[in-house]
């Protein structure tokens, strides 16, 4: 059929491009840091630090130029450093066994951090099950196989895109992986100069994890970052649930891990320009995002928002007179169990983002995460109960907990317990208001994904600019001093840096999503299935199997007919019974 032929042609072209790009990265291998695929050369004395970060190995200070030697301050600093270095060398000569032992200690330290990063990464991977359960529970049974299948296939699709080129784009210019042995082979960042400053735009190393990418620390980083990417990738499946053609979703899956996610990701976490707003322009510590309120959640939320707007609402959701119809969630226990799975996985998401169990701030990070989830859930529950609908709504309790978790994702390392609680309270109210708002402007979001992830992702980063209390983050993004927000004497500069990041996320992902979905619609004809298929339920027409085979489903209740529109699909060939 013509459409399938077009599809094959497109996919073939994309694959060919990626192979060429991957192949090109071989060409640039010259005298580079040696990657360590076996892990036998990673971790040594240079990785040994004490609790305050003072390194065991003292490096030789850089010799002063004649010009600098005339400056008494610089001369004193050099002399002190030289003495410390000479003392260290003398000590190594006296105690050579201690130096050998330090190599083992360094190796163990790095091993602790590898373990931490991998295990927390495994926790985050399990969040995929949580997302699948939340989304399927909040939508109708007749679409359950389809909804779950999207959440399932996004894992391999996103991963493979990230493997092929996404990781290289996002982290190709990262530099040294400091907590895991300092391998610095991912060292090519495409940079332009603007306003006299370097603007990192995209990485270009480590395609398909070969060459400079075939290093065990790079692999570990890949796993950890991949599961974060997949969290972004799975958010739009919630916003677009019950009316997204599976083939359209699969093409989106090709794009999300490979192109859409890594660009903004590079700008914040890959050493790109948003992270350097502090070093370059004095805006706080640049755009700070500890575990991904903007990098992960807001990206997903914006994609969901723009895509939902483009694809349109579910059949029967909105009436011409401005009211809307009830489309019931079919499995509230599944939704709530899924939320607990997500809350559990978040203990990997936030504390894991230190990439180091040797960074003992992780205790604070974990508790802040926990507290914010609690106040988020409570605020949403009470707000619905006392203000909005006079009943405590379970679906909104879940959205509230998740909103709190999303909102604390960025600030978790930088705020106090009190700050975390307040951030959660605001998140809980914000998510409720946001859900009602998007329905008012007729952007259909069956599970509240846009409100939980998009809106609260933005709030999470903005809250750093307010609540960061200056107890952590010395040297973050290359700026000396700890991260401080407005309420703790940091002034507005951190807040402005966060604002720029949030705005950039919105614009960039908005544009990217628009392009991707427009192109997919051109290839496939439409991103939505036909109206008949949507009313019948996507399971049989799209997936070929019922989610719950043998269960009787009441289609009359499940699919409202929108008031003010002409009666049901006019197609005389429709085999759908409306009774």
């Amino acid at each position: 059929m013509k459409q399938t032929h077009n599809l094959t042609k497109w996919l073939g072209m994309i694959l060919l491009t990626l192979l060429v790009v991957g192949g090109l990265s071989f060409v640039w291998a010259d005298d580079e840091p040696k990657p360590d695929p076996a892990g036998t050369a990673t971790g040594n004395a240079s990785d040994v630090q004490d609790a305050s970060g003072t390194h065991f190995v003292v490096s030789e200070p850089v010799k002063l130029s004649d010009e600098d030697a005339k400056d008494p301050e610089k001369l004193k600093a050099y002399t002190d450093a030289k003495k410390a270095y000479d003392d260290y060398i003398a000590a190594t000569t006296k105690e050579p066994l201690a130096v050998k032992l330090a190599d083992s200690v360094g190796h163990n330290r790095v091993a602790i951090n590898f373990t931490w990063t991998l295990v927390t990464g495994f926790l985050v991977m399990f969040m995929q099950a949580g997302f699948a359960m939340v989304e399927t529970g909040l939508t109708r049974a007749k679409n359950s196989a389809h909804t779950f299948a999207m959440n399932f296939m996004i894992y391999p699709m996103g991963m493979l895109g990230f493997y092929l080129c996404g990781f290289a784009f996002m982290f190709g210019g990262l530099g040294a992986i400091g907590t895991m042995g300092g391998y610095a082979g991912l060292n090519h960042e495409i940079t332009v100069t603007l306003f006299g400053k370097p603007f990192g735009l995209l990485g270009w190393k480590g395609f398909m994890l070969q060459g400079a990418g075939y290093d065990t620390a790079a692999f570990t980083l890949f796993l950890f970052q991949m599961v974060f990417m997949d969290t972004t990738a799975t958010i739009p499946t919630g916003a677009l649930a019950e009316r997204w053609k599976f083939s359209s979703f699969m093409l989106y899956g090709c794009c999300i891990g490979s192109i859409m996610y890594p660009i903004f990701g590079n700008w914040v976490w890959g050493g790109g320009w948003l992270s350097q707003l502090g070093a370059n322009f004095g805006l706080g510590h640049g755009h700070v995002d500890f575990a991904g309120s903007t990098v992960v959640h807001m990206q997903g939320g914006v994609i969901g928002l723009v895509a939902s707007w483009m694809v349109g609402a579910r059949y029967g959701k909105y009436n011409k007179d401005g009211t809307m119809n009830f489309i019931p969630p079919h499995n509230i226990p599944m939704c709530m169990a899924g939320t607990f799975i997500l809350a559990f996985g978040w203990f990997g998401f936030n504390p894991g983002s230190s990439l180091a169990a040797t960074d003992l701030r992780i205790g604070v990070v974990a508790v802040n995460t926990m507290l914010c989830s609690a106040t988020g859930a409570l605020a949403a529950c009470l707000y619905m109960w006392w203000v909005k609908t006079k009943k405590p709504d379970p679906s909104m309790m879940c959205n509230g907990m998740l909103a709190g978790l999303v909102a604390i994702t960025a600030p978790c390392a930088f705020v106090s317990a009190g700050g975390a609680c307040i951030i959660g309270l605001i998140a809980g109210v914000l998510v409720v208001e946001s859900v009602f708002f998007f329905d008012k402007i007729r952007i259909d979001d069956p599970v509240g994904a846009i409100s939980v992830h998009g809106v609260n992702g933005a709030w999470g980063c903005l809250s750093i600019g307010l609540f960061a209390d200056g107890t952590y983050g010395d040297g973050w993004n290359g700026v000396p001093g700890t991260v401080k927000g407005l309420f703790y004497g940091g002034g507005m500069s951190q807040f402005w840096a966060e604002c720029i990041g949030v705005l950039t996320c919105f614009i960039t992902l908005g544009v990217l999503t628009f392009i991707v979905f427009k192109v997919i619609a051109m290839i496939l004809g439409s991103n939505r299935p036909s109206e008949e298929v949507e009313i019948q339920g996507l399971d049989i027409p799209e997936m070929g199997v019922y989610g719950y085979s043998g269960m009787v489903m009441d289609k009359e209740v499940e699919t409202p007919h929108p008031k003010g529109f002409p009666t049901a699909p006019a197609s005389s060939k429709s085999t759908v019974s409306t009774h």
Partner: protein, 112 residues
């Protein structure tokens, strides 16, 4: 021979079944249905969408009874299934033209 269709509250099923068994009515067919009568439904709200809960779950019990047992059957069902609150249900009596026991091909009264 008449067919009695009784629409009753679901939790009354066991009691009615036992009471009918005591007066000699052994077989029945039961289905899960939903319905409503004269009372209006409640309006609920889910995430801002209003909806009316009209239909409530009920049990529909169908028994075919010989003419001489009808009065007893009706009296039993009414006595046991009543709670005095709205939604107790209704009973309909319909004529039956023929009844057949599939296993033995017996007809009419000996089939029920």
């Amino acid at each position: 021979m008449k067919k009695i269709e009784a629409i009753i509250k679901p939790f009354k099923l066991e009691e009615v079944k036992e009471a009918l068994s005591e007066i000699g009515i052994e077989g029945m067919t039961v289905s899960e249905v939903k319905g409503f009568g004269r009372q209006k439904g409640q309006t609920e709200i889910y995430r801002g969408s209003e909806y009316v809960v009209d239909f409530l779950p009920k049990i529909k019990m169908e028994i075919v009874v010989a003419d001489e047992k009808i009065a007893d059957a009706l009296a039993t069902i009414i006595k046991v299934a009543r709670t005095g609150k709205i939604g107790d249900g209704k009973i309909f009596v319909l004529p039956v033209e023929e009844a057949v026991r599939i296993r033995t091909a017996e007809r009419a009264e000996s089939a029920v």
